[in-house]
Subunit: 307 residues, 2 copies
């Protein structure tokens, strides 16, 4: 029996890391040899969750051999996945994003639902297969839902996410509000991070029409603290645009307490952000009222503006 | 509430037509307005099944408006779908094929499993949602499984398909073996069909590397009856190659009683069939022992040979 490698997207966030760990647990209970991996360094928020429930950080995936059996969680677009993913044997996908730049040679198990978090789907998979949800796994799935929905404030939150979170909180014996606020705050400090770390930590690339767009997001409690370093951030972004050839780079700085975002848009297609959100960029920046979700409130809008 | 349009692939077979009908029933039970459609004429096998269970043939989908809400069943590749599918709002997909040439702007519900038949997945959806399976819907799902698995002889057949079929046969009060043989035979006669009908009825296009391949399949009880008309078939295939620009056209004539196939391969990439199956083409034709499944035993092999 070969080892199944399970991983989420590059620049891993809490849902991606915990979903890999949880899916490995599911596969092991189903009798398969499987291990969770990560495609990059974990952030302070994820570390808080892992430490709280006493679960080890997955190993870094160094190389992916041709033909390796893999399961993807929390992503499907190849440019967000492991290098050499085109040559892997994708057995399953658990995801809650749009499908794009993804293909396989043969049939597979693909489970996507338009919910706020991959963990909400994984909880159903445990139940459908009559598997045991340990306290640790319940805590990790709960952490993922809190993270992806920003404590249920994101418009990506569905009734299913809230119900799943309530039930997981009981299994893990956790007070959602106090644990969730502490966990989000743990990941929200920007002072000790370099500009490069801020624009890299949660950044994803998207092919939109003929353009390559990079959209990075930071969740913070103090937006001004970030924009005091605007020049430094712009330099770091320009350097990435030059290196990677992005047509558009958008940094979305999300205020998790007041539920809106301020963006910084650079690149030859920066104007598309004005069309996408009906705003004027002032010194490359604009406030987007009520916008907290990259997936639902940023990616589709810019995709449309660029097509 | 807008009407959800549900349909399977072009050149509809029994699984595609019945899965559209069954999914419409599921959506209606979930409280949504939904109707099944077809993208082309139905074959004699499908007609046999619909008549046996007293279910009406779905209407032909004439046009698909921009932004229409749709659910795809039994396919995902856009070139196998409705014209204008790129502009539709794809809410859900139920499928059991590889994923390719498929993308959406936003998140969706996507349920694919590597089983022999879409109906096997739909049966689980009924159960997961505590919905009622009527005798008619059970009969249609059973017909789809018999058709796609050639009465469980195809290597695409999984344990899940067999178990689902047994249970559906009980619900529909049907003897699988006798009903299945009659249904398959109803679709297996080629005498009354034109060469063009034979190469069109169950044909799908695939993008493979830089090449466009067309793979048509006919299930028959008398392979020689088909190859007596080889010249006529070749003329019809050449005419399609000229019109559509296919690099390769493979007609797979499957003997449903003896479980093997004879292929006819034409086009500039016809040699790839020799590499794919390690055979020599004799007058553009070769016997493929044990090959009955396009999805599992033909498409991946030719994809590899062409990449």
């Amino acid at each position: 029996m070969t080892q199944i490698r399970i991983f989420g997207h590059q620049n891993p966030d809490t849902d991606t890391i915990t979903s890999a760990i949880v899916t490995a647990d599911i596969e092991q209970q189903l009798g398969n040899e499987a291990s969770a991996y990560r495609l990059g360094n974990i952030g302070a928020e994820t570390q808080y969750a892992l430490e709280h429930f006493g679960v080890k950080t997955p190993e870094l995936l160094e190389t992916l051999e041709d033909g390796a059996d893999v399961i993807l969680v929390d992503h499907n677009e190849f440019q967000q996945s492991a290098e050499n993913i085109e040559m892997a044997n994708i057995l399953k996908v658990y995801d809650h994003h749009r499908i794009a730049n993804f293909q396989t040679e043969g049939p597979l198990y693909y489970r996507a639902e338009p919910v706020g978090c991959t963990a909400t789907i994984l909880k159903k998979v445990y139940e459908e297969n009559d598997l045991l949800i340990s306290k640790e796994m319940a805590g990790l799935m709960l952490s993922a839902i809190i993270s992806d929905t920003l404590l249920f404030k994101s418009p990506t939150t569905t009734e299913e996410d809230s119900v799943a979170a309530q039930s997981l909180a009981e299994m893990a014996d956790i007070d959602i509000e106090s644990y969730g606020t502490e966990m989000l705050k743990a990941g929200a400090s920007t002072k000790d991070k370099t500009a490069e770390a801020l624009i890299t930590a949660d950044a994803k690339s998207f092919e939109m029409g003929q353009r390559t767009t990079r959209i990075a997001q930071i969740n913070v409690v103090d937006v001004d603290e970030v924009f005091e370093r605007k020049q430094e951030l712009e330099d770091a972004i320009h350097s990435q645009i030059d290196q990677e050839g992005y047509d558009l780079f958008v940094l979305v700085v999300t205020d998790i307490l007041n539920s809106n975002s301020r963006v910084l848009a650079l690149g030859t297609e920066a104007q598309s952000v004005e069309r996408a959100f009906d705003v004027s960029l002032d010194n490359n920046s604009a406030v987007l009222e009520g916008v907290v979700s990259r997936k639902k409130q940023v990616v589709p809008q810019i995709t449309k503006a660029l097509s």
